[in-house]
């Protein structure tokens, strides 16, 4: 039963989800909304599982003095700080000017932006390593990268300003993005869409069940 009930729920919900796309009549037109609401509710309650797990693991690290337990202290402190400040401010905790808002604007926002900004550095180091003229295909890739990178910024047109408009780097970059790039993206997306349908069908029919734990 432990396996059958989830399989049954998955099957019914999956089929209803497919049907509601084609049937505009009640109750099918509302089912999508009901299911998504239920998922949101379940996921919202499940946040506690995650939060408690994080706290449990972090406290264990601190009490058992595992390696790098100092970081666990930081996690616990930050978690408690945000939670306590949020609860203390009550319903309007997200309003401008509250302490929670201050933490959000001046701690959370810069930290997130910093992590995102690291991408700029990593793109450079990855390009430095990956774009090498190892063989014919890699050389093509390298060439495309070159043209797009220069064509996407005004410098490209400064360098090729003497050429007719349609031959300038910005036009070349646009062409690469609009045609070869899009063609490749589409091919991958079609493959992915088919893979999604096939996987979803396996899940709905209960053929794929290893995500429920174990093999068969």
């Amino acid at each position: 039963m432990r396996r059958e009930i989830p399989l049954l729920i998955t099957g019914i919900v999956g089929i209803v989800f497919v049907l509601q796309y084609f049937i505009p009549h009640f109750p099918f037109n509302r089912m999508n909304a009901w299911f998504s609401d239920w998922f949101s509710i379940v996921a919202a309650f499940a946040i506690w599982l995650g939060a408690l797990n994080l706290m449990k693991i972090s406290f264990q690290k601190v009490f058992r003095r595992k390696s790098d337990w100092g970081y666990a202290v930081v996690i616990i402190m930050s978690f408690l700080l945000m939670a306590v400040v949020g609860f203390a401010e009550g319903k309007g905790f997200r309003d401008q000017g509250t302490a929670f808002d201050w933490l959000f604007q001046f701690v959370y926002t810069p930290l997130s932006a910093t992590m995102f900004a690291i991408l700029a550095f990593f793109v450079a180091s990855a390009s430095y390593r990956a774009f090498r003229a190892r063989n014919f295909e890699a050389t093509l890739l390298l060439l495309a990268a070159f043209l797009v990178m220069l064509g996407r910024v005004p410098t490209g047109d400064v360098l090729t300003g003497f050429m007719p408009e349609g031959m300038r780097l910005s036009a070349v970059a646009s062409w690469i993005m609009n045609f070869p790039q899009t063609a490749g993206q589409r091919a991958i997306m079609i493959g992915i869409a088919l893979g999604l349908v096939s996987t979803s069908l396996r899940i709905i029919l209960g053929i794929e069940r290893s995500h429920l734990g174990g093999g068969d």
Binding site: S112, A113, F121, V153, V158, M177, Q185, M189
Partner: protein, 334 residues
């Protein structure tokens, strides 16, 4: 020196640096700092000479460490922020499409803007948001703002407060509820879009500040997407432009343009070429091109110099990488 000691020293340096920058900022020393043309030229030449030296060293067999790459990227992004060099901006077709879509709308048309990003990607998307909203108000369009990301509506508020500092915008006397409405965030990702297809109000009973939907003259009569003349989606991931296209555009025939982070943008070209997206602003350059068309010098135009620089430096490092590769290849053959 032990790793721990190095870590501590690094943290100390960063802390001191941050404090110094903060003091300079609050004392006002930092504002208005700008390199003169000569200094800018010297800096640019110095960076490229340094890159040349690295290339020569690489050819002689001294491989460059990735931290050096990082250092150069940091300089090439940070220093141009203090330079004042104008660049000629070439507008691409997809950006022009967004601009034309807005320009073609009759005054009073309703534009829906979904803010589907958070502060992390704000540096890239906020300039787009500001120039797009600005253009809408300049054209007397009515703007309805919402977010599928929790922090999205907050970004919209920030964008509004920035553009309202401008005298031209102040003169427009934009009124909340009549010219502009922020419906706030609604959880549920693409399901929100789907339900908006039949009824906006079922998803947004109250706006961002808690006013009832029916009390807002601008949206009172807005039932679903058929009452929206154009929409623009600022997206940094999921849920974002892809979901809007799949649900609102494909199923409800909404007219839509996208503003995406540079990382996301390549994927959107598939929808652009198929006509599902009417226009696309990709990354900082898309933002700068839009500002150019809207005849407004905003953040994207300003930051473009950094982007140009960074691209040049990455191109230089790709050349250096290939130099290293060919050298090692030749050595192996020998």
């Amino acid at each position: 020196m032990s790793t721990r000691a190095k870590e501590l020293i690094t943290i100390a340096i960063i802390a001191v640096f941050s404090v110094v920058i903060y003091i300079l900022k609050i004392t006002g020393v930092m504002t208005g700092i700008e390199f003169s043309g000569t200094v800018s030229t010297i800096i640019i030449i110095a960076i490229f000479l340094a890159l040349l030296v690295i290339l020569i060293r690489t050819l002689r067999g001294h491989l460059v460490d990735r931290r050096t790459v990082f250092l150069f990227i940091a300089f090439s992004v940070a220093l141009p922020l203090l330079m004042n060099i104008s660049q000629k901006i070439t507008v691409s077709g997809e950006v022009e499409q967004v601009y034309n879509a807005v320009i073609d709308l009759q005054p009073g048309s309703r534009v829906l803007v979904s803010f589907d990003y958070d502060p992390a990607s704000a540096p890239e998307l906020q300039p787009m948001a500001e120039s797009f909203l600005r253009l809408c108000f300049m054209r007397d369009l009515k703007v309805i703002v919402m977010g599928l990301w929790p922090q999205g509506p907050q970004q919209a508020e920030l964008a509004m407060s920035t553009i309202l500092e401008d005298d031209e915008m102040k003169a427009k006397n934009i009124k909340y509820g009549i010219d502009y409405v922020n419906l706030g965030y609604q959880a549920g990702n693409e399901f929100v879009v789907q339900r908006m297809g039949s009824d906006f109000k079922s998803m947004f009973r109250k706006d961002y500040s808690g006013r009832a939907y029916d009390d807002l003259p601008l949206v009172k009569n807005v039932k679903n997407f058929s009452n929206i003349d154009y929409s623009f989606n600022l997206s940094a991931g999921y849920p974002g432009t892809q979901e809007w296209v799949q649900v609102a555009v494909d199923r409800y025939g909404l007219k839509m343009g996208g503003g995406n982070t540079a990382v996301q943008a390549p994927m959107m070209y598939t929808y652009l070429n198929a006509g599902q997206l009417e226009g696309l602003l990709g990354g900082m350059s898309g933002g700068a091109e839009f500002e150019y068309l809207a005849n407004f010098t905003g953040k994207a135009t300003k930051y473009m110099l950094s982007q140009s620089f960074a691209h040049m430096v990455v191109v230089a490092f790709i050349i250096i990488g290939n130099a290293a590769f060919f050298r090692s290849g030749r050595e192996k053959k020998l």
